[in-house]
């Protein structure tokens, strides 16, 4: 189906169903219950899940397939956001041209940086990409202020020309990005009993974009081109000995993954039309590395899982405070309750980075294949050891 194998199609179908039903699945708790704060089904967060999912899928095409560790990928996301916001400012609030421009600009930018950086490999490549990203960040913050808005970021204004459609919406407000009349921030709510589910246009738009991106990633993974990229990872030297010049392939992977980052940046700007330099800072690049590794590098679904896990922690786990912990353990005797709260508290709330760091270390040490490998191991345990040989995982063997 759709040019995919049976297993891949099943995976795509599962992802399709999960993303389409996400407003239900992520809202398992009634509105007024104590657990309601764990509901992740609000549009803003769901959009972040899929947008960062796209970012991580793209990063995985570079790092997972070719093994080139880029520490500057956020630069492409930032460039994509700036391009999209400029499209909103100058031409139209329609998101399609904005995203197209974002993808194209990031692709060009990636072509330039990749052409230079791919002359080196290993840690030198990591440092080169980091250097380019940090330069872009510093320039966006200072000299390029007329283009990037500097410290305040790039924002829409009433005085923008927007030559293709009305510069000012009804009521004198700045118009909202939309898709042929569908506003990105529009949403409907559905109340069933105590549950309230929110369906937003923005989320479904991003979700469709992610499904397309995911589908293209599967096709790429299974194509001869993907095979070539894997060969670069397993032994670049031998590739050269067979008379094959591998760098154009690596460059193509770099540009594709840069375009994915641009798509993510464009979507981010479409959901909330502003762009700032901090999106290009190296910690943002580090975050996408964390997402990809955490989920499972070189796997298809891993990066999306990793992105969702990190964004969930960032938005939900970080909200748990001491009072909430006390209310959870209220059934215990007082002394025990206080001890438990004191032990757990550093790991949640503002300390969620600590949990993230620990989980990340554990994953790198014990589960180099990330959450996906963890799931596969558990699955194998449950099925018993007989299913050991036929499991053909999507994991490509890491090699140096």
């Amino acid at each position: 189906m759709l040019g995919l194998g049976k297993r891949d199609f099943a995976l795509l179908l599962v992802v399709f169903v999960l993303t389409m039903l996400a407003p239900f699945l992520l809202n398992p708790f009634p509105v007024n219950s104590a657990m309601a704060q764990f509901n992740a089904g609000y549009p803003d967060l769901m959009q972040r899940f899929v947008i960062f999912g796209i970012f991580a899928i793209g990063y995985n095409i570079l790092f997972g397939l070719t093994g080139y560790l880029s520490f500057g990928h956020a630069a492409f996301l930032g460039v994509g956001s700036y391009a999209a916001v400029w499209m909103f400012k100058l031409f139209s609030m329609n998101v399609i041209p904005a995203i197209a421009l974002a993808v194209a600009t990031s692709g060009l930018f990636a072509l330039l940086i990749g052409y230079i950086s791919l002359r080196r490999s290993g840690i030198y490549f990591a440092i080169l990409t980091l250097a380019f990203a940090q330069m872009s960040y510093a320039l966006a913050y200072s000299v390029l202020t007329p283009i990037t808005g500097g410290e305040t970021g790039l924002q829409l204004a009433l005085s923008d020309p927007r030559i293709l459609d009305a510069a000012v919406a009804q009521g004198g407000n700045i118009p909202v990005p939309g898709l042929f009349g569908l506003k990105m921030n529009a949403s409907t709510e559905l109340a069933i009993g105590d549950w309230v589910f929110t369906f937003s246009v923005g989320y479904y738009f991003c979700a469709v974009a992610m499904l397309l991106a995911f589908y293209m990633a599967i096709r790429l993974f299974r194509s001869p081109f993907g095979m070539m990229l894997r060969a670069i990872k397993s032994n670049n030297t031998r590739m050269s000995y067979t008379g094959l010049y591998a760098r154009p392939y690596a460059l193509a992977a770099f540009v594709i993954s840069g375009m994915y980052a641009g798509l993510a940046g464009g979507l981010m700007a479409s959901m909330d039309p502003l762009a700032g330099a901090e999106r290009m800072f190296w910690t943002a690049s580090g975050e996408v590395v964390l997402m990809t590794i955490l989920g499972g590098v070189g796997t298809l679904i891993g990066p999306v899982l990793g992105a969702s896990a990190i964004k969930y922690m960032e938005n939900i786990v970080s909200k748990i405070n001491e009072e909430i912990l006390h209310s959870w353990f209220a059934f215990l005797p007082d002394g025990l309750e206080n001890v438990l709260v004191a032990v757990i508290y550093p790991f949640v709330g503002k300390g969620w980075h600590l949990t993230l760091g620990l989980v990340f270390m554990l994953v790198v040490i014990f589960l180099p294949g990330g959450l996906v490998e963890g799931g596969q191991r558990i699955g194998r345990l449950l099925r018993g050891k007989k299913a050991k040989s036929p499991t053909k995982s999507t994991q490509s063997n890491p090699a140096e």
């Binding site: 560790l69 840690i123 080169l128 940090q134 330069m135 000299v143 590395v289 600590l354 760091g357 890491p398």
Partner: protein, 343 residues
């Protein structure tokens, strides 16, 4: 001319910090072959050793002084630190004042222990894994370490002053025959530079002139052969890791008066230090030191008004620009050896 000398001086203190961190990174990389992304965190922990010591020294009790009143007219409370109480105002006050330099003595054993624990507990298991895995696991460790520090010390920078004698600036220009008031330079930055020079000299002398250092250098050149000679090279390399951690730690301790430490200072320095190491050449100790000072001084030259007018924004990107140019023209860095980190 005076502006040039001033910029060189300004570059020295930052360059010293880069050089010290890059030296430790290179020691670890040269001996153990591990790319340690947690090295910036060690620098940061060193800085917080100084903060901790100054907090401990400032512990005290409050007494009511009947002769003084506060602004409400109540009897004022006067805080006396234990150390002044026990050792007298003269000696105790002196110790309080010299808290930051004293923290070096406090930081060295702590940093060596942390270094041993890191190497034995974690990094040992990563010798045979790809460099990417080493980078990732130490990156995770760096996040954990900085979050622990954040939990205990909060997210805000903590001011910790230098000793009284070294506060303020002096007129460096008059020493070398300029008119007074042209080259003003803070004392502590000069102290920092001198201190860095001593540490760097000590590390080099240790490696060059002691038997231990000789064995370590031999191990860096050919680990297997040294092992075959019946020398426990792993143990020596672990000690070198401790030493590298201590170098980063004391670099952090002394940097406290220049830049109030906050939990993310390690990461800020780490990124630049990696650039420094790569520019100097992976695995080359003199290269790391040279590149550290070079980039520090270049950075301060790029922040001169005249240069910024000519090339706006150059002060922000100079280090990265130099790194890119050097990596593309001299792939092994300034003084890199053949066969190190080459696939």
């Amino acid at each position: 001319m005076d502006a040039i000398i001033l910029q060189i001086l300004n570059g020295l203190d930052k360059g010293s910090a880069y050089a010290l961190i890059a030296l430790g990174l290179t020691l670890i990389f040269g001996t153990l072959g591990v790319v340690n992304f947690a090295h910036g965190a060690l620098f940061m922990i060193g800085a917080f050793c100084a903060v901790t010591l100054s907090r401990v020294l400032n512990l005290g009790f409050e007494t009511v002084d009947p002769n003084k009143t506060d602004f409400l007219g109540n009897p004022a409370t006067v805080k006396t630190t234990y150390i002044e109480h026990w050792l007298g105002a003269e000696l105790g006050g002196g110790i309080l004042d010299w808290g930051v330099p004293l923290a070096i003595l406090f930081a060295i054993p702590i940093m060596v222990l942390i270094g041993f624990a890191m190497e034995r507990g974690l990094i040992k298991h990563f010798y045979h894994r790809p460099h990417a895995d080493q980078i990732l696991v130490t990156f995770g460790l760096a996040i954990v370490l900085q979050e622990i520090i954040k939990y205990f010390y909060g997210a805000n920078p903590i001011q910790t002053p230098a000793p009284e004698v070294f506060r303020g600036s002096f007129d460096f220009g008059t020493l070398i025959g300029f008119d007074p008031g042209q080259i003003i330079y803070p004392y502590w930055r000069l102290v920092y530079f001198g201190f860095a020079a001593v540490i760097i000299g000590a590390v080099f002398a240790f490696l060059r002139f002691t038997t231990f250092g000789m064995v370590v250098r031999a191990g860096m050149a050919d680990r297997e052969t040294v092992g075959l000679l019946g020398i426990n090279i792993d143990k020596r390399f672990t000690i070198m890791f401790g030493l590298a951690a201590a170098v980063a730690g004391v670099a952090g301790v002394m940097y406290v008066p220049i830049n109030p430490p906050s939990y993310h200072m390690g990461m800020d320095f780490l990124v630049l230090s990696f650039v420094v190491v790569v520019v100097g050449g992976m695995g080359s100790l003199p290269g790391a030191v040279l590149a550290g000072f070079l980039l520090g001084i270049l950075e301060s030259f790029a922040s001169m008004g005249a240069v910024i007018d000519l090339l706006p924004g150059i002060n922000q990107i100079i280090i990265y620009l130099v790194a890119i140019i050097i990596l593309l023209t001299r792939p092994r860095g300034l003084m890199g050896r053949k066969g190190v980190m080459e696939d």
